[in-house]
């Protein structure tokens, strides 16, 4: 069954500390993975996608097919990174559906 797992509900770090938000997936097809972010009082929006191999706001994520993981990393957290982060998997075989993990709240304090 297709599934996205984010094991941490809350991650609290200090400003300047490294951040790693974990995401594991289960999918029989070729996975396409994304990270979405929801800042306070804002709508859910795309942060980055694995096929772009880009760094957005200092965040990167590498798809590891061996470990079925797509962890989100940033070397030095900023207070403005505080938000809810969702890992998402595109089900692109039978139709069009993007499924989300439960989300991890990142709290960065000074």
């Amino acid at each position: 069954a297709q599934r996205v797992t984010q094991p941490e509900k809350l991650l609290s770090v200090f400003k300047g500390a490294p951040v790693e938000l974990k995401c594991n997936y289960s999918y029989s097809g070729s996975p396409e993975l994304f990270w979405y972010v929801q800042y306070s009082r804002q709508r859910l929006q795309l942060l980055l996608r694995h096929i772009s191999r880009e760094s957005i706001k200092g965040f990167t994520a590498d798809l590891n097919k061996g470990e079925t993981s797509f962890h989100l990393k940033k070397p030095f957290a900023q207070e403005e990174d505080s938000a809810m982060y969702y890992c998402a998997l595109l089900l692109n075989q039978a139709g069009t559906a993007l499924i989300f993990g439960k989300g991890t709240t990142l709290s960065v304090s000074s």
Partner: protein
């Protein structure tokens, strides 16, 4: 910058009543979606819609739910006979392409069923 808009922002209804949630997707987008988020839980996929028909739906999207694109701009979600467990935030989203994975979300409609 174009945005997905949803109305109402909050609706309170009695159990058993019909509810229609409305969405205006971004104008040149072709794919439309509804998601819901029960308080404290994850964002769950309900349905996707393309070319005037349902493209994919989840187990949650049972006969109580229906979607429609009644005109060139609106995309609606109807819940025929609401239950207490339908209380949630409902998000509409749209995307330009099938494989992009970039969905543009509305701010959500909070449904409270009493």
């Amino acid at each position: 910058e174009p945005e997905v808009t949803q109305t109402p922002s909050h609706q309170v209804t009695q159990m058993g009543q019909e509810v229609i949630l409305r969405c205006v997707p971004i104008s040149n987008h072709l794919y439309f979606y509804w998601y819901r988020q029960i308080l404290g839980q994850k964002v769950e996929f309900l349905v996707s819609f393309y070319n005037n028909e349902i493209s994919e739906k989840s187990e949650i999207f049972d006969d109580q739910f229906s979607v429609e694109r009644p005109d060139g701009s609106n995309f609606t979600l109807k819940i025929r006979s609401t239950k207490l467990e339908d209380s949630a935030m409902y998000f509409c989203a749209s995307s330009a392409g099938l494989a992009s994975g970039e969905l543009f979300f509305g701010e959500g409609s909070r449904l409270t069923v009493l």
